[in-house]
């Protein structure tokens, strides 16, 4: 009896696929799970594995466009095959509908929870923001087979902009589909929850296993009692890396952790320290390792955007220097009082932000955006501040900074920095800035050429403050000097404006009374 293979459902909005290439020819002998052909949707290309072993008969040729569910080919079990071969086919057949009903990835051979009548809720990635098309599953707080409660946080998702916690949409037993580290597009299947069930649900099949069908179903189930069990070699490697077995997704049979899984596992930051200490404690060991690590979504996006800005704008940088003495004097004179009154320290950021807001008002093109063939000017100043967060660079925004007092700016900076450190910034808090400040000075940078934070058109780089010999009124004096850099998009900002903008900022900082007098 030939098995018909149909186009599987590959995603919510996809209704048809194109047969891109056949890897096998008509009449070929194919094995179970061998890749037969490549299918293309308008979103992605994916491979179609054989659902059984046998002789291939191709129905749809290359270039054909097929709706979901249409027959692509059929596989005929080899005539006169030995008994074991026949039994493979027989077993594959009942599994087939499950495979077809779902997305292609392998581990979806879910044994559709045979004994339980409860509803199975599919948990999908929600739309989290306008421009976000995919998320990375950063960590699962629950394991497959665990009971979860409504609204309990089951995993953390990471988009290129933010990390957010994902709560259970129902109470029941969890079955993880997308393992930690996998990238899932919006609307993609994350997990299933068997509503109302209580762990351990494994109780159902094997206990009564007197006939083979039941136990076979158990074998096919995505997680088992052995999921996450490391092999002897894997256990040693994980211990040496300081990684708990439950932090690793096992790729072995039944989710077992293989030696390779352990070799590829990357330690999470908090536990790593102890293992490093142990590893260097004694005796000879290999110190010349290399490590491969997948880029996080955030890192990939940062990388892509930075290159795009370099390629698509006419970016250049202008420099100036600021004598920080007046601001520093002011600060040391009032910092205690300021702190007492406002409950927040008086830093340099407030002076810079304030000075920039004044300058932006005077040079509106620096506070603009390009949208196609039009320029968008803002009569408000939403200042983005680049902050180094544990997972990489983030850029939260101080809204309408021009209306804020120095204290208001300082407390906003503290609030956003704390959230950035804890990965708690929302998308809202990170979008829509009109101008960016970046401070490489905190790490000791003397001078740099920052890259514009698109679609903005200018960015100011602050640097370290160094005592330098400068000439004031014909005398060489020592002054605390900071170099400033303004990178700008020459397409809409002319040299005159950019340079004047920076000079204006310099002027305001070297004589802060101007901020008060508005001159």
């Amino acid at each position: 009896m030939a098995i018909e293979m149909k186009v599987p459902a590959v995603g919510e909005s996809i209704t048809e696929v194109t047969v891109a290439t056949w890897n096998k020819k008509e009449g070929d002998h194919v094995k179970l799970d061998e890749v037969l052909c490549e299918l293309e949707s308008d979103k992605a290309t994916f491979e179609l594995p054989a659902e059984a072993e046998g002789i291939l008969h191709i129905v749809a040729s290359e270039g054909d466009v097929l709706p979901i569910g249409a027959v692509i080919c059929s596989i005929e079990p080899v005539a006169g095959a030995s008994i074991p071969a026949a039994s493979v086919v027989a077993e594959a057949a009942p599994a087939a509908p499950v495979v077809q009903g779902d997305a292609i990835p392998a581990p979806v051979a879910v044994a559709a929870a045979p004994a339980i009548n409860a509803t199975v809720l599919e948990i999908k990635v929600p739309a989290v923001g306008e421009s976000i098309t995919e998320v990375t599953v950063s960590v699962w707080n629950k394991k497959s087979g665990d009971s979860v409660k409504l609204d309990e946080v089951i995993c953390e998702l990471e988009s290129d902009k933010a990390t957010f916690e994902f709560p259970a949409e129902a109470s029941g037993v969890l079955e993880i589909i997308a393992e930690s580290g996998s990238v899932v597009s919006i609307g993609g299947l994350l997990a299933k929850i068997t509503v109302g069930a209580v762990a351990p649900l494994a109780a159902a099949p094997v206990a009564t296993a007197n006939e083979p069908v039941h136990s076979d179903a158990v074998r096919a189930s995505a997680t088992t009692y052995a999921s996450g069990h490391p092999s002897p070699a894997a256990a040693k490697i994980l211990d040496e890396k300081g990684i708990a077995a439950n932090a690793v997704a096992g790729s072995g049979v039944g989710g077992r952790i293989t030696k390779e899984d352990a070799q590829n596992a990357v330690p999470g930051a908090p536990v790593a320290a102890t293992s490093v200490a142990a590893a260097v404690s004694n005796g000879p060991s290999d110190a010349r390792g290399v490590r491969r690590e997948k880029m996080s979504s955030l890192r990939k996006t940062v990388a892509r955007r930075l290159v795009a800005v370099k390629n698509e704008t006419a970016m250049l940088t202008t420099f100036n220097e600021v004598d920080m003495k007046p601001v520093m004097d002011l600060r040391s004179k009032y910092k205690d009082k300021f702190k007492e009154k406002h409950g927040v320290g008086l830093g340099f950021m407030s002076f810079f932000t304030k000075a920039i807001c004044v300058a932006l008002k005077e040079f509106p093109s620096v506070n603009a955006k390009i949208d196609g063939e039009e320029m968008i000017f803002h009569d408000y100043c939403d200042i983005s501040i680049a902050v180094s967060a544990p997972k990489g660079l983030v850029v939260p925004v101080i809204r309408s900074a021009e209306h804020l007092s120095l204290a208001g700016i300082e407390s906003e900076v503290v609030r956003l920095a704390v959230k950035a450190r804890d990965n708690k910034l929302t998308l809202e808090e990170m979008s829509g800035g009109t101008f960016t400040i970046t401070n490489g000075g905190v790490f000791g940078s003397m001078l740099s050429t920052p890259i514009i934070n698109a679609p903005q058109v200018a960015i100011l780089g602050m640097h370290n403050i160094v005592e330098r010999a400068v000439v004031v009124d014909g005398q060489i004096v020592v002054r605390p000097i900071m170099y400033l850099a303004l990178s700008y998009d020459h397409r809409i900002i002319d040299g005159k404006e950019s340079v004047s903008f920076l000079v204006r900022v310099k002027q305001l900082l070297e004589d802060p009374a101007r901020l008060l007098l508005d001159i």
């Binding site: 007197n210 083979p212 158990v218 002897p232 211990d239 072995g252 005796g283």
Partner: protein
């Protein structure tokens, strides 16, 4: 004073393996052995010589009892015990040389003499000629092993009342050998002499042979050894023994409290072994042995209470088995190198080299019942196996215990031809937490003894063995 990264005291299977692993890891390593020959109890007076005699006696037994049925007619064979012992000795000698070679190959410095602690970082080696030298080591591994336990009311004279050591170099085949203790060593050596024609009487305090193993194993083994003409006094408590000329009298009390007297020409005492740390001068290192003579070690590192001193094998807790000591030897060397090795003590197989052999790994039925774990049992007898029938080795069975819910294999117990080798499959499966059905679905070559494992797993999965 010579300085080393690692000093190993004792060259048994734990000690010499530990030294090799330490050397592989780049440590400057020394090994100290009290006797002239390397290899410890296992090689000199344990595993290897007993297996040599077990096989010789098995050949003899087959020649007498089975050759005719196989269609081999020979003149009535005679036991040449002198030659048997000589062959055993040559096997041991050859292996002694092998270990010395391995030490040289790995550039391990060998010191012959009694090692004793001078301090927590130094060990004095006193040689046979009385001279001594002191070595210092950053890390010291105690691998001094064990000796047979001797009870005060049994006067072991090593001539008529003997231990396993003497039983391996007998000059005559006993007429009536009384074996006190029907555990692993008693069962093995008792069956050697039973095959060679001795009448063998076992006296055992527990109510079965090999009492620490799964009950079915003890029962089946007793059946097989009874076929050799042995008799059993189970649930008997030995209260004394005496020698008069060439006659040994052992007095015991049965379960009803009645006294029993058994007379024979030799008495073999196999009531267990004790950790051996005599002459080691533990006090100088700041160490004390516990009330059973063992050295306490940390579970995760096998380090003793003194930093830099480790202990492995029979001197520490756990089963007194050569392969357990080997695992610990490797373990400690890797711990010293900053690695994090593992030992799964639940999966160290236990083996009795009688014929049929007994082997087991994991939990017994009794342990599972006590722990309240619901389990399924599947057994398969060797007599239903084509290979066993062809070879006329039909005694025994394989018993698989699997979790009632998950089908995970929790224990495997087997008695039968080559069980000692067959158990390896169970260890591998259990290290990966395989289910009974996993094994049942793997191809096992036909005809082999391993098919019994597959069939027992089928039986454990869902009572669907194919050939029973």
């Amino acid at each position: 004073m010579q300085e080393f990264d690692v000093i190993v005291i004792g060259s048994g299977p734990g000690g010499y393996v530990s030294a090799i692993r330490a050397a592989q890891l780049g440590f400057k390593t020394a090994i100290i052995e009290k006797y002239a020959a390397m290899g410890g109890t296992c090689l000199n007076v344990g595993c290897i010589p007993s297996k040599a005699l077990l096989d010789s006696s098995e050949h003899y037994y087959n020649a007498v009892h089975h050759f005719e049925e196989h269609g081999i007619d020979i003149a009535k064979p005679k036991v040449n015990l002198k030659q048997m012992i000589a062959r055993k000795s040559s096997v041991v000698e050859k292996m002694n040389g092998g270990i010395s070679f391995l030490m040289k190959k790995n550039k391990i410095s060998t010191f012959h003499g009694l090692g004793s602690f001078d301090s927590a970082k130094t060990v004095k080696v006193t040689k046979e000629d009385g001279s001594s030298e002191t070595l210092s080591g950053k890390h010291i591994i105690i691998a001094t092993g064990s000796k047979p336990t001797i009870l005060p009311f049994i006067p072991v004279d090593k001539k008529r009342i003997i231990t396993s050591t003497e039983a391996l170099k007998m000059t005559e085949v006993p007429k009536h050998l009384i074996v006190i203790g029907a555990g692993v060593i008693g069962a093995e050596l008792g069956s050697v002499y039973a095959r060679l024609g001795s009448k063998v009487s076992f006296i055992e305090f527990a109510d079965s042979m090999i009492p620490t193993m799964d009950k079915t194993m003890g029962k089946e083994l007793q059946k097989s050894i009874a076929k050799l003409g042995a008799e059993f006094h189970l649930s008997h408590k030995v209260i004394g023994a005496s020698v008069k000329g060439s006659e040994v009298t052992v007095k015991a009390e049965n379960s009803k409290g009645e006294s029993v007297e058994i007379k024979g020409d030799y008495c073999l005492v196999c009531i267990g072994r004790r950790p051996y740390t005599d002459g080691l001068n533990l006090a100088a290192a700041g160490l004390v042995a516990d009330e059973r003579g063992r050295i306490a070690v940390d579970e995760h590192t096998l380090q003793t209470s003194v930093s830099g001193i480790y202990a492995i094998g029979d001197v520490v807790r756990g089963a007194m088995l050569a392969h357990k000591a080997e695992e610990e030897g490797v373990f400690v060397a890797e711990v010293i190198a900053g690695q994090k090795p593992h030992i799964n003590y639940n999966l160290i197989p236990g083996v009795v080299y009688t014929w049929p052999e007994v082997a087991s790994v994991g939990r017994t039925e009794q342990e599972l019942a006590t722990a309240g774990i619901a389990y399924k049992e599947g057994s398969f007898p060797f007599k239903a196996l084509g290979r066993a029938a062809a070879s006329m080795d039909v005694d025994g069975l394989v018993k698989v215990l699997a979790d009632a819910k998950t089908d995970e294999i929790l224990g495997v117990h087997m008695i039968g031809a080559r069980a000692a080798d067959l158990i390896a499959e169970a260890v591998v499966a259990m290290e990966f937490r395989a289910s009974a059905e996993d094994i049942a679905r793997m191809s096992h070559a036909h005809p082999t003894y391993t098919e019994a494992m597959k069939e027992a797993c089928l039986a454990a999965t869902a009572k669907r063995a194919l050939h029973s």
